[in-house]
Symmetry: C2
Subunit: 364 residues, 2 copies
Amino acid sequence: MNAISKTLHVDLGDRSYPIHIGSGLLSQAELLRQHIKGQQVLVVTNETIAPLYLAKVMASLHGLQADSVVLPDGEAHKTLYTVNLIFDRLLELRHNRTTTLIALGGGVIGDMTGFAAACYQRGVNFIQIPTTLLSQVDSSVGGKTGVNHPRGKNMIGAFYQPQCVLIDTHTLASLPSRELSAGLAEVIKYGLLGDAEFLAWLEQNMPQLMSLEHAETVQAIYHSCHMKAQIVAADEREQGCRALLNLGHTFGHAIETEQGYGKWLHGEAVGAGMAMAADLSHRLGWLTRADVERVQHLLQRAGLPSWAPQDMTADAFMIHMKVDKKVTDGQLRLVLMRSLGDALVSSDFDAAKLQQTLLQGQAG
Amino acid sequence: MNAISKTLHVDLGDRSYPIHIGSGLLSQAELLRQHIKGQQVLVVTNETIAPLYLAKVMASLHGLQADSVVLPDGEAHKTLYTVNLIFDRLLELRHNRTTTLIALGGGVIGDMTGFAAACYQRGVNFIQIPTTLLSQVDSSVGGKTGVNHPRGKNMIGAFYQPQCVLIDTHTLASLPSRELSAGLAEVIKYGLLGDAEFLAWLEQNMPQLMSLEHAETVQAIYHSCHMKAQIVAADEREQGCRALLNLGHTFGHAIETEQGYGKWLHGEAVGAGMAMAADLSHRLGWLTRADVERVQHLLQRAGLPSWAPQDMTADAFMIHMKVDKKVTDGQLRLVLMRSLGDALVSSDFDAAKLQQTLLQGQAG
């Protein structure tokens, strides 16, 4: 086992917590145990992850009332109905307000478990063990929890922080390559939104990341979490700079909603969305055409789509983007780039240019 | 119109808010308008309240996108399913994160609307307009929001503060007398838990309160809110002294759960629960038998039950009390009284004495 492991501290005052990143961390029971305060634990996972890692996590919980609930897998199940299955289990097994919920799985499990923890008896402790690259670099940091509604993604939720995040890079070995790519979309996002040097490092190391080389993988996760943690610490409730983290997401959410949840992976939609944000930034005179192509080339090397589906119309985009959370009093706000590695939030752009971007690449 | 009106400021740092108490406040549009920040409002009310006050509130919202949703009435509908109807409406009408939810109704409407506001897009503004005495003196102060689960009351929720609370005592004129009594249970609670002088005032003024004399009603609401606000300000997240507010509630919740929600009103169950807490406090040597009778007499004068239903067994109590939120790691904690007007939280009591209290008054 490679001994490289790193710990990052997310600084949020009395809601601060550590992120442990390394290989084989799931075998280190003490790392998990030290963050459990009461005598009861509920591990929340899904049908795909349970056969792979549930037994290992349960083995770490010896001596506690350690229960588990196995949910159906997939974004389509990220609903209030599924969260209610967690409440059912907690109450059936008489978990009290000193219980700890452990999210074992990807972003969907993390979002639902965190939301359940935020709401169960008005708030209990929870721990994130993200098993996908996407959730490791993104949804395990920042305290955003919640579920989807048929009319919009993540419309119901809470800001709620975990006691700790445990990232075992071993779990990536079992990840389908399409999901690895989806995770890399969020890694690339950090380069594009605020760190041109990291972007260049990613361009150099993409083959190593695609083959899960250990040192590069830990480094990419650490750096992404570190950037996100800094942004979140500065703006926990998304009043200001945190909005930059939505680079690619407004376009991306529109793609996901139009296709129906689960057809495109979140990271794939964000990848396409970042290419569209780059294209609009070019039309506004901020990026060069070569910059746009550089973004698209890196997305392609990461196994990602570099544009929206051909059959998605500009009208379809506008309908979904209007209900997006980034709309403030009717004003559409987009994250764009002044240059690669320097993003900004803007509602003051030429609507005709946006229309050109939405029409770009559209079929016949 | 009687001109007496009072404003109380609940001090919670950046979550502080005012409580306006007076008669005819619903006709003062500016009082409501000044607390609405965005251009969208959703008034949440129920079938009973809508015909009485919805038009008046909507008239105050002229010029805004003012929508409403009318929910079924009653504690039986305080569920995740009903809260989801609020989300459906918000999304159908494209409310964004600058929207304000207004709770127009009793505690059930307030709890569900507050919870919906806490969760919609991870948190939007809300305003409470409580129309029952119970919600005016109790559930509109303290930030507790949430819904019931078939296995327990208020098991799912959030701590979330409103922008303001508007208490129009005119709305009490339309309240059934049984609900007025239920509200008086919570008023009496404040006397019992921490203010012997207020308890004596209540004993003197109970006839005036039962007939809704204006000055006494405003005074009772103001004093109750003031006591609760002080306790909540000292302990917003219920780590310490806030637990005193649960006087009568552990017994009371057991009664409500056993009977099925809605058969006994919450305040009625709390009334009976306070008599039981007094009885146990007497058995533990803290209250005299005369103290217990004084409590029961006041409850009776307020039109409240002064004991649990005769057919409820000690076993039934214990089953429900064990899943209560006040249970910490298997230890049952009860709010008891050292003397009238001086409550304490205790887990260190003789279980046999509790059993005696539970058996007391039981049928045959």
